[in-house]
Symmetry: C2
């Protein structure tokens, strides 16, 4: 990450909180300045408008999620780490939720983000395919023909739009933890039908893990 002044850090932190809680359309750069008790001119000195701030926030998000997604690319995950891995991805996305909730309009308004976001989707799909390949190699999962590839695409689509869908369906409206949990559970429900017959102990492990998250 780029070295930044303390003021710049504070602007980004404030903007992210406001955008996540109020939504992109509700927040202007004047609002961000007001919350920080600085003048709009002072804010403008640091960042030339809201979309410049959003592009900078995206760069931070990109750095973090690339790190997470690269984990199974670098080396295969231990079996019990797979489920935690899915949680971590969702938590990253949740921390940047204003972006995912307004994906189409933000990618249209800030076109430089579009190719970057598309590359993230490719990386995510690759990460999921590697995760599934690892579980296939250890004979926990079984796939026919192109099922593995399609499943990795479906998981990528799921992670990209889950927050928007959950918000429309009112899932986890009162509790973000429930929303993330349901998102992971829905992701896992696509993987479990591919489990082999000898996967029962891992199904057990998964149930325990899920109970723990909800409890």
């Amino acid at each position: 990450m780029v070295a930044r002044s303390k003021t710049k850090e504070k602007i980004l932190h404030t903007a992210l909180g406001l955008l996540n809680n109020e939504g992109d359309t509700q927040i202007t750069s004047v609002d961000i300045a007001a919350v920080m008790s600085i003048s709009p001119g002072n804010l403008y000195y640091h960042y030339k408008g809201k979309d410049v701030i959003i592009a900078e926030l995206f760069a931070d998000f990109e750095t973090e999620i690339r790190q997470v997604l690269s984990a199974p690319v670098t080396k295969p995950l231990a079996l019990e780490d797979n489920w935690i891995y899915l949680y971590i991805i969702f938590e990253e996305i949740y921390d940047f939720r204003f972006f995912y909730l307004n994906l189409t309009s933000l990618l249209e308004r800030i076109p430089e983000l579009r190719p970057k976001f598309k590359r993230l989707l490719s990386l995510m799909q690759t990460a999921f395919e590697l995760l599934l390949s690892g579980l296939e190699a250890s004979e926990h999962l079984y796939f026919r023909t192109d099922e593995k590839h399609i499943l990795s695409e479906r998981l990528t689509q799921h992670f990209t739009y889950w927050l928007a869908y959950a918000s429309l369906r009112g899932i986890g409206a009162k509790n973000p933890k429930t929303m993330i949990h349901e998102g992971v559970y829905t992701a896992l429900s696509q993987i479990t039908p591919h489990w082999g017959a000898n996967s029962e102990p891992y199904a057990e492990l998964l149930r325990d893990f899920l109970d723990e998250q909800v409890g």
Copy 2:
């Protein structure tokens, strides 16, 4: 559907074409009037702005998709009709694609559509659950515990965001038929892992159907 003047019908038809081809943010009511070679004032006499037109288009879409979705609610589908049914739903959505591609911002800008769209999502989820129940009752599909319900939610999410995802991933960029086909195929890839051992003839039937659509 409400009885409308010929001019109103022509406005709606023109607007839908422009919105689908250029996107919501690119089109104003002045553009619609220009394409029709009428004055903006004349257009305004019929509809008080672009969002009133969009709300009216939504009402038409709602009537049509409700009719389609209600089919399995009224009576179970014949086995071979299930796949065609998924195509028909996607084609309806594709005909109204500008809306699905800008879902979040349109539901925010025209708040009266939000509860209506949410009810459509409920109906879609119910339709899919009934479709799956039919195939379970005839012993083509097998589900454990809550798998059937989760799958119906996942299919609803898939149908809602497929166009947006495919557009980001460049799937079917040159051929809408390919995009719809891939969408149906991806939906089916979630159903097939639940097939029972004796479903091979139907897998055959499905492969034939898919080949036909692509060919």
